[in-house]
Every structure is written in C-alpha cells, then in structure tokens.
C-alpha cells in the first residue's frame, strides 16, 4: 500500500491522515478548489477532517498557532493563492518568532501561468521565505508526497517553526505516485537531541559550586513537551534554586510555587530581575536572551557564569556569550543531567544558597506587583486578579492580544501547567488573541478558554467572532477597556512628554451590541463591586462572550526596565523618581 496512485489534492488529505491531522483552519479560493473538493467528498466518511472556516487568513494562521500552542501538536492551515498567502504572513512570522510548528498549504496558479502576473498570483515562496523555517514550491506531482512529509518533519523537529507548501492548481489535479511517510527521510536536516555528556558534567560542577544560582527558563521547555516540564520540575526541586521564566515559558514551572520568583524582563518582578543581575550562575533552559529579557546588554548579569541549553545551535553565543553551551533537546539534556547528578552524588552548596534566598526574600518585600486599589474605578490589575481567583480551580487556557493587558495577564494570572498560556511574545501581534483562543478551544472543546484582550487589539481580528459562532466555540473575550492603546500611551508618557499621538480611540463600538450582532453574549462592567458576579456570569454562559471591562485609563504597567537600562535600574511605579531616558534608550523599542 506504500505506493499508490492518486491526485495531488488527494495526496494532501492522505498526508494529513498519515500525520494524524484531524483539524485544519482555512479559507477556500480558486487555487485550492481541488483540495476543498476532496474535503467535501470526505465529509461523509467515518473520520472526516474537521475544517474550521475562518473569516480572514490571518485568523487561520493564529488559530493554527492557538491549536499548536495549546496542544503541542502541529497546527495546519489551508489557504488560496495571492491574498490568501499574503494574509497569512503575519501568523507565519508570529509562529517563526515564537518557534511554533505550523504547516501551511497554499494554492498557487497553475504551473504554466507562474510568472505571468496571473489573477491571484504571488511569489508565495519568495514572500514567505524569511517568515518560514522552510518552504517549497511543488513543480512535479511525484515530488508532492515527499515534500508534504518533509514539511511535517521540518515543522516539528529541532527548533519548531512554520513551513509552507505551495501547490499549483494543475498539480492538485494531476495523478501521481503517493509514497508513505515511513519511506521518506530528509536529506540532511537532523537536529541534535542529546548534548555532550562531558559538557553536561561541566555544567553540573558549576551547579554544585554555585553560591547565587538561578534558573532562567523559556518557551523551549514547553516546546520540548511534557517530559521536559516534569524533568525541569524535578531538577529545580532537587537543587532548591530559585527559578524565573520568560513570557513564553510561563506554566512550565508552577506559578504559585515558592521557588518561582516571577517572570523576568522588562515587566518582570523586581526579585527576578535583581536575582538575574546579581547571580553567580545562570542556567538558561530553552530561552534565547531576547532584548526584552536582557535590558542593556553590556550590564546584563555581569558576574555570572552561564549555562545555556538550547536545541538551536545558532542561539548559542548569538547575543550573550555563555560558559557551557548544551546543544540538545531540553528533555534529553535534563534527563541526562539528573541521572549524572545522582550517579556522581553531587551536592549543592547549601549555606550560601540559604543566604541567597534571604537576599531574594528581601527583594520580594518590595512587592513590586502591588497597586493601589480604587473603590470607584476598576484597576486593570484588579480585574485580572479577580479573573484568576474566580477561574483558578478550573483547567483554563488563556490567550492574549498584545499590550498592557498582556503584561498584566502575565503578572497576575498564575499558571500551574504548560500550554495554558498562549501569547504572541516575539512578534507582538495585536489581533492574535481571539483567533488563537478559537484554535485552543478547538483543541480543548470542554475547557474554559479566555482571551484577555485590549479594546484596540481585539478590533484587529474581531471578524473571527463569526467563526466562533459558526463552529459553536464558547470562547470568552475579556476586554480590559481603557480606550487607549495602553502600551503606546505608556511609552508616550514616559518618553515623549505625554504627547499622546494617535493612541486614543475615539469611536469604539459598543462591545455589548457588537457581541449581540454576532450572536454572542455581551457583558459590560464599570464598577469594582460588580466585577465578580459578572465574571461568574461569563464563565457560566454556554457560548462566546465579549466582556467589556471598563478600567482606569491612566494605569501603567510596573515594574518596568526602561529602554537602554539594566536589570537593577527598574522603575517600580509612578511614584519612583523618573530619570531622563537617554537618546540611546529612546531609539530602542
């Protein structure tokens, strides 16, 4: 059965079946009609592929991401040529930045029309080359099955990422030989999973000697899978070291555990950033020294030795020079590390570690996430705190848009499991949250999925409400509504003398009526004492909800490392004396 004859369109569906794909997000169009025709024919079979019809291809790409990020599986999308592809570019770039496995199948004009500026033709592989991990234009029907198998392999192995397979319409109609995935092996791409054991031993020696150590973990732990998460927890508990996480890594280690000292970076906790600054050993697991994490690079953790575990060799020494690089998959490296730690009977340096914890506890006393409550207006931080308190007993999946609400969600919503926190970190894509929530809800039909949104971001992909209604996906959209593009306003306040250039939205829709127009439920809350009841009403409603939470307009996200500053130069709140931000700092984003 390995080699069978079928059309190109049938091969696409056969490859989906062979790679256990049962869900795709897409939008039909001229150049993918043969594939859509196969989907229609397949609808009456036992296990048809579930196709979710989005309202814009950007929605398809973020939904595929939400599906992938919440389930650990590959997200699959199907779009037509030309605008279908160009509309997908934002989502593909987003997946590229955050290392999310996506397979995008795009239609292309027939081969004889390629290069003629045909209707809905675009150079799909050219346009998506820098925003995919790899892409292919299929020019021969007999290459198609091999390419499809390679696409799934490349997307999901090593450092995951999005791939695109561009299939001209005539190839979809042609008949050729389908070869099964078991016989296809990529020519050269073989990411290294296990790290060098001598280097692991070097790392363990540093860990045993360390006096002021810290674990700094990222999205790589979550990408590596559940085994990595369990091993990380074991290793962190074994050592008793403090642990901080990047935005992408939240949930890998329980957010309410006593060893967890909060998120680090630009809006991370005081204790996490101070500990990064003053540590003598940094153990980076699956993070990439992003500029949001390091602050001013010259003053980044000046006195520490650094261990860096990463599956992507090109991440090593890219931004920060490290002492012990461990190239491999997080789960494999941690498994070997724990084994070796036990067999060599290494012991941690207990007395200095106690002192280190005392120092950290002192920093904690600053209570950098405190905020002043108000009786009359809802503070955005309070809204998210209440949302967390009222939902924490459930297994909740939270997506976000991008901006202040995203940072508050990261600070005040605590995650005890991986894949529950789904946010656009690298690219920072406004409009991500709603379609991502749809993808997460598709992957977890019985779970509570909440998109914590801002009123500006949500409007960027609001059309996906229609998708949620059509496919009966009860996503909850919790809008922190301050009428400003809050993060833009905050930067204009801090860096541009409060000249609020075009960051105020003057003509917002009535979100309650908007919800109703789509056939969803709308809720608006303006008073703190009404909040709990309304949140419960939202949770209990069986269907999509738009929750318009009207909050204090001038609240800023603190703590904050201003641009161009180091970890130990944080602003803790509006009351702290603001130093002039240097011209050098102003040009940073």
């Amino acid at each position: 059965m390995v080699n069978i004859q079928m059309t190109g369109a049938q091969m696409v569906l056969k490859a989906f079946e062979d790679h256990q794909v049962d869900t795709i997000f897409g939008y039909p169009g001229g150049a993918v009609l043969p594939i859509y025709d196969e989907l229609a024919k397949e609808r009456d079979t036992n296990q048809p592929i579930r196709h979710y019809l989005v309202r814009h291809e950007q929605g398809a790409s973020h939904s595929a991401e939400g599906y992938a990020r919440s389930s650990g599986k590959v997200g699959v999308m199907l779009v037509t040529s030309g605008p279908g592809v160009t509309n997908s570019v934002t989502g593909l770039t987003d997946a590229m930045m955050d290392s999310i496995p996506i397979v995008c199948i795009s239609g292309q004009v027939p081969t004889h029309l390629i290069g003629t500026d045909a209707f809905q033709e675009c150079d799909a592989v050219g346009i998506t080359r820098p925003c995919t991990k790899h892409n292919w234009l299929v020019k021969d029907i007999n290459d198609l099955s091999r390419i499809l198998h390679e696409a799934f392999y490349v997307a999901s192995s090593g450092r995951p990422g999005p791939v695109l397979v561009d299939i001209p319409k005539d190839i979809q109609f042609q008949t050729g030989t389908y070869i099964g995935p078991e016989t296809v092996k990529h020519k050269s791409y073989r990411p290294k999973l296990k790290a060098n054991i001598d280097q692991i031993d070097d790392a363990l020696k540093l860990i045993a000697e360390a006096e002021k150590p810290i674990f700094y973990t990222g999205g790589g732990v979550i990408n590596s899978g559940n085994a990595a998460v369990q091993l990380l927890r074991e290793f962190v508990r074994l050592t008793g070291f403090p642990i901080t996480s990047t935005l992408q890594g939240l949930g890998a280690y329980p957010g309410d555990d006593s060893q967890f000292i909060g998120m680090l970076g630009m809006h991370g906790t005081y204790e996490a950033n101070m500990a990064m600054n003053e540590c003598d050993l940094m153990i980076n697991i699956g993070a990439r020294f992003d500029d949001r994490i390091t602050g001013k690079i010259d003053d980044f953790s000046p006195n520490s030795k650094k261990i860096h575990i990463d599956i992507d060799p090109s991440s090593i020494n890219k931004i920060v020079k490290v002492d012990v690089p461990l190239i491999g998959d997080v789960a494999h490296v941690l498994e070997d590390s724990i084994k070796l730690w036990k067999s060599k009977v290494y012991k941690i340096n207990k007395t200095p570690l106690k002192e280190w914890w005392k120092t950290i506890d002192k920093w904690k006393e600053k209570d950098s996430l405190k905020f002043a409550s108000d009786k009359n207006t809802i503070k955005p931080q309070y809204a998210i705190q209440r949302l967390y308190e009222l939902t924490k007993e459930k297994d909740v999946f939270v997506t976000t848009e991008v901006g202040q609400h995203q940072m508050w969600a990261a600070q005040y919503y605590k995650f005890s499991n991986p894949n529950r926190w789904i946010t656009s970190g690298g690219l920072g894509t406004m409009g991500f949250g709603l379609p991502a929530a749809i993808g997460a809800q598709v992957a977890h039909p019985d779970k509570l999925v909440i998109d914590i949104a801002g009123e500006a971001s949500i409007l960027m992909c609001i059309q996906e409400m229609s998708t949620a209604i059509q496919h009966k996906l009860p996503v909850k959209i919790f809008i922190i509504n301050n009428q400003y593009m809050g993060m833009v306003r905050q930067w204009q306040e801090l860096l541009h003398d409060k000249r609020y250039s075009h960051s105020y939205t003057d003509a917002l829709p009535d979100f309650v009526k908007l919800a109703e127009a789509y056939g969803a439920k709308g809720i608006r809350v303006q008073k703190p004492n009404e909040l709990d009841k309304a949140i419960n009403e939202m949770i209990e409603y069986d269907g999509p909800v738009i929750f318009d939470c009207v909050v204090e307009q001038n609240e800023n996200v603190y703590p904050m490392i201003p641009s161009g500053k180091a970890h130990n130069e944080m602003l803790l709140g509006d009351e702290t004396k603001k130093e002039e931000i240097s011209d050098e700092g102003k040009v940073l984003v």
Partner: protein
C-alpha cells in the same frame, strides 16, 4: 569583542536545491549585512552539495551573528568564518581587458609577466589577461593597469578553503 570593521570570508555548505541561494542571500540582505563578493558552485555531484563563499565587511560580532542566522536555514549544512588572516587560503580569478597601443601596450605586457597573468585574447589594440591569485594581488594588478588602458574587468569573487588537515 572587536569593533573593527574588516572583510570576512564565510564559507557555507548547502544542499543544492531550488531557492537555496535566494535563502542565503535573502537572509544576508534582509538583515542589513553587505556583501563584497559571492561565489557558488556544486562541489559534490553525488550528494548535491554546493559551496557558497561570501566576502562581507563587518565587525567580528556582526559576522558571527550572520553565521548564526545562516545556520538556521534548513538546507544549510555548515557555515564558518574562514577569513584569510585566521586559517584560510583565498583565491580569485580575474579577466582584465586592456585597450592601448605603443609604449603602454608593451608596458602592460611586461607587467602581466611579473604577475604571471596569461594572455588569452589579443588584437593589435587589445589584450585580455587571465590572472589568478589572492584578491589583493588582483587589486594591485588592476591598479597598475589603470594608466595603461584598462578597459574592463571581470572577477569571479573569492573562493576559500582551510589550510592543512582541517575540514569544514
């Protein structure tokens, strides 16, 4: 790390498949790096491996970053800095056309001998010289030819390889 801008030679081994050169060049130009020269040819016909040699100006840091980014491209097997000053050997070929008569013509012929250039085409008024060597040697030859009727130059760009037993 050194902040000095100098020329770096980077060798990249790639699977010879459609679009691979566009991937490499697109990454370099897209990230704002410059290229002085670029050569590419298949070096293993059985395994379909090509070798790309790029000469790019930059600090050691920017070139290292560029190499890191290149290594993320799926069909890139290896990328390394093989700059001459470190351990590499660099060679380039040039075709140089001289249009002149009389004393200048004789002088260009005499100098080409010093540089071990070969005459591969001639008329009464012109020569085409073929010259191999390091890029510096070729630069020097071209400089000397300028007052002697230099008309046109075509250069291959640099190819490079490590000395001794070292393999990329």
């Amino acid at each position: 790390m050194s902040e000095i801008v100098s020329k770096h030679t980077v060798s990249v081994l790639v699977d010879n498949e459609p679009g691979v050169l566009a991937r490499v060049i697109g990454l370099i130009s897209g990230r704002g790096y410059n290229i002085d020269s670029l050569t590419v040819a298949e070096v293993d016909a059985e395994k379909h491996i090509s070798r790309i040699t790029i000469v790019a100006p930059g600090t050691e840091q920017t070139v290292n970053k560029m190499i890191s980014q290149l290594q993320r491209i799926v069909p890139v097997k290896r990328a390394a800095n093989v700059t001459f000053e470190k351990q590499g050997i660099e060679r380039e070929m040039a075709l140089v056309k001289i249009v002149s008569t009389g004393e200048k013509r004789v002088e260009s012929m005499r100098l080409s001998d010093v540089f071990r250039a070969r005459v591969i085409d001639t008329t009464h008024d012109s020569f085409v010289f073929e010259l191999n060597g390091s890029p510096r040697k070729i630069d020097a030859f071209i400089d000397l030819m300028k007052p002697l009727g230099l008309s046109e130059v075509s250069r291959t760009g640099v190819v490079a390889i490590a000395r001794g037993t070292e393999k990329m």
